[in-house]
Symmetry: C2
């Protein structure tokens, strides 16, 4: 195992490039600034998902604008030589319960008052976070990402609030970067189904597979009685992923993925074949996915996708992909 780890880490200096020269970007998901070091050590070319929930889980209540600013600035500074940092606005609710905030006393929290839904009803708190992000933007390459967007009205509401915060800072003569890319997570089926419309309003997409799969198959994967239905390779899910990426590219914006599927070695070639631009995952997963990407060509990946998209069932796709991958790679996980 140790030799394997060493071998994978030596990949750090090499780009995530397919054999026929398609350059992919691999980024890390982090939860706290302390993880930035590990991201760099594993070859991350940026932070694809900086989860901000930790800053709202403090014993004394949520962090002030200054405390948030410090955390964001710290990550932005550390990553500046390596790449962009995508900070996701507060994604509370669902299975992420924060005492005194969303996710409590709801019958179906996953379908409930969460993420931007919660933040838009608590604009005080939302503004504080957006101001802290904007202020931190002078220290590196910030991208702002909104979770759980379900339609264009909601998107317009969060964009308007962000503009309001920019205006406030201008009036207070507080500097911030003017060119911050703003994107959304695609994790609600209605957003996926209108990706062509949403793509024209933002600078990037990041697909959140965990929630997208839960909603698409109507399954709470935390419910052991029916967790078997959570199938990342369900043909309905794959069709949605393909469509999101096509719609984004038609609108000229790149697509990242930051859900667990992005770090699953068995999914890597499929995602390549769909045209995914950025894979963001736990730092430890980066070397293995990079190795896979460097071992295949886009034409192979597109051929694999062409084959599985003709298949009718999850089982058929899953077993075909597993044997296709196992024939070519010695994968550590199953």
């Amino acid at each position: 195992w140790q030799r394997r780890e060493v071998e994978l880490l030596t990949l750090n200096e090499l780009p995530a490039e397919t054999r026929d020269g398609k350059r992919i970007v691999l980024k890390a998901n982090i939860e706290v600034p302390e993880e930035t070091e590990s991201a760099i050590a594993h070859g991350a070319e940026g932070i694809g998902l900086y989860r901000s929930e930790f800053l709202f889980l403090q014993p004394g209540g949520y962090s002030s604008e200054d405390v948030q600013y410090d955390a964001y600035a710290r990550v932005l500074k550390a990553m500046a030589p390596y790449g962009e940092v995508t900070i996701r606005t507060l994604d509370v609710g669902g299975d992420k319960v924060i005492p005194g905030m969303a996710g409590l006393d709801e019958k179906n929290p996953i379908l409930g008052w969460r993420a931007v839904r919660f933040c838009l009803s608590r604009k005080d708190l939302f503004r504080t976070q957006l101001r802290a992000m904007l202020r931190a933007s002078v220290h590196g390459r910030l991208r702002i990402m909104f979770p759980m967007i379900s339609g264009i009205e909601e998107l317009e509401n969060v964009l308007a609030l962000l503009d309001e915060c920019r205006q406030q800072l201008r009036e207070e003569s507080i500097p911030f970067a003017e060119d911050i890319p703003v994107g959304i997570m695609i994790e609600v089926p209605s957003a996926a189904l209108t990706a062509d419309i949403l793509a024209r309003k933002v600078d990037f997409f990041s697909i959140g597979t965990n929630d997208l799969i839960q909603y698409t198959i109507a399954v709470d994967r935390g419910n052991e009685k029916i967790a078997y239905l959570y199938e990342p390779f369900h043909p309905g899910v794959l069709r949605l992923l393909k469509r999101i990426i096509e719609d984004a590219h038609n609108a000229g914006i790149p697509v990242a993925m930051c859900g667990e599927v992005a770090g699953d070695p068995y999914a890597a070639v499929i995602l390549l074949g769909f045209g995914l631009d950025v894979f963001s995952m736990s730092s430890f997963g980066i070397p293995e996915v990079k190795k896979i990407i460097r071992s295949v060509s886009m034409s192979e990946a597109e051929e694999l996708v062409g084959t599985i998209m003709e298949m009718k069932s999850y089982k058929e796709i899953d077993s075909y992909v597993r044997s296709w991958m196992n024939e070519r790679f010695d994968l550590a996980v199953t």
Copy 2:
């Protein structure tokens, strides 16, 4: 109001036919056999959804095969001169909690152990219901409908169980109709997204809009904090509805709708334009929807659909449809 009711009831003898001659079928949703009379009185040409949950909510536990048989036979006999009766297999769970069965102690019951998911894990109970339905089939025109199908494996499992019950009855020399149409509800996005695949295995679809919309927009409409997001005219929802109907027609099967949208006068012309074959709703809603269908042409309906499908937001679509309908009809509800 009374005059209006009388006027609508006189429509009973007239077919639900558009001005340019497209024949639509209007059916009723019922919960107990006693409602059959009202269905007939309001001009229903069949029962599009006979909810069987009532038979499982009895004080002494769920009903025996014979008690279920009696209830099903009663509805089938009464409706025989008017049309088919679509019985839905037990749709427990979600917001339909039956003591001792599914829906309790789940964190997200709407995304949980419900309908066929529950029934496939309680095959004793599922077989009892399927046998009762098959036995009742000799008394009228039965159609069997499975709720919450999410993919082809699940569909194959329920079809295999139904075949097993048929085989049992043959061995016991108990008669049943050999040509019972079997269909599924399309209410899980993954089923909608693979409607082309599923359509080849069944005789009809019935779209369940309530759940389909909840999953597609990731909203529990019973949660007042976010119920505003439940938007039947969300462009993502409309695209899904259009696609389900097209896929079904390409496979040569008809599509019904039995969710609340089917009985919403404001949605009627859109559904016509999508090519929906059967509208199933609460009996009381039938005359009004029939009146609308008889007042428009398919070309008008298709033109309306063509216009709204170019629109980018729920609000834009909703206000356009409402004024389009209000210009033409004096609608009782808003």
